[in-house]
Symmetry: C2
Subunit: 207 residues, 2 copies
């Protein structure tokens, strides 16, 4: 790969080595075409085993993943994707439906054991679904980094019929789909030109 | 650092080397105490310069950061933190207020230039604030990884009076605080025991 932003170079201010910076952020790109190389069970497990250590509020870990690999499952998914997202989703060897488990509080006695009563308090909390979505988005950030850590390209999408995907794949689970992510090796013409990023001074202020 | 989960070892299924896996995920921990070592402008800029390349929907990049380093600014923040989060926030050399810019659409003509009309469509979209929060959470995931990439520890918190922080620091900006993150080198007794993570089979299903 060639550096896409030659003006922004790795810096000594980071402890992470330059090749890892490139792999995860600087040269990694959202892929829009994929080769036929499969993504194996071992790879998917290794990605999850890495990113599950990322922190979440109350260790709530509400992200759930539905792995779509077979042609039959892919057909069921494609009809709910927005038109522009269909061709690339049709070619990806693995597509992950990323969902927020609004019933994450059932796991709190196990994953947040020192806070007695957390499960019951969260069950009664009207902000529970919003908390599930927020922490699932946080975990999606870790997941995209983890997919890249496996040497694969991620293609995250929010352009789909969420209610259609929910009814098709998640009926009765209390899981709400929040994103769909294609995963694989980038194919021909996989990249659009990279869009501009905001400057430091547009994002960070000091008080 | 010692491995905290000796049963989960780096695997050949990942392209990222084992030391980087440990730095970013396996041995990185949410810190609850910090040394007095400052976090420099150069470090903060390097972290942002890395994580800004993470993908967001429509390249919307709604995350905004308010850097709190002076004793005066820290005092203003502490009064809005929940009681349990005050002592650690008092000792962190840098604290970042992470906010969602609900006016992110004003940047779309620059950051998503090929989609004419995206700014106006998003201005009229009733889901705009929710989109800002979701994509800010996604960027918060990248930010936590980036803080660790700088060899620093992150301490993300959602226990604070959001309306108080908004009125104190973000009045008139259209930015909504979604998290507060302490940043620094871990101090004595910085870690709680790590809480359990969900197993692969609890999170991933295949259809």
């Amino acid at each position: 790969m060639t550096a896409l932003h030659p003006d922004v170079r790795p810096t000594d201010a980071l402890a992470l080595d330059a090749s890892a910076q490139d792999l995860l952020f600087r040269e990694a790109r959202t892929a829009n075409a994929f080769t036929a190389d499969p993504v194996t069970d071992e790879q998917l497990q290794a990605i999850y085993d890495l990113v599950r250590f990322g922190p979440t509020a109350m260790n709530s870990q509400p992200m759930r993943l539905v792995a779509v690999r077979t042609p039959q499952a892919r057909e069921r998914l494609l009809r709910h994707m927005s038109e522009g997202n269909r061709p690339k989703t049709a070619t990806a060897p693995l597509t992950l439906i990323v969902a927020a488990d609004t019933g994450f509080h059932e796991h709190l006695p196990t994953v947040f054991p020192h806070a007695a009563g957390a499960r019951d308090a969260m069950e009664a909390n009207p902000g529970r679904a919003a908390m599930a979505r927020f922490n699932t988005a946080l975990q999606l950030g870790y997941l995209i980094v983890g997919i890249r850590a496996a040497g694969l390209a991620a293609g995250p999408m929010t352009g789909f019929d969420a209610e259609g995907v929910r009814a098709e794949f998640l009926e009765g689970t209390g899981h709400e789909p929040v994103a769909v992510v294609n995963v694989g090796r980038p194919g021909p013409d996989a990249w659009f030109p990279r869009n501009p990023r905001l400057d430091f001074d547009q994002v960070v202020t000091e008080v």
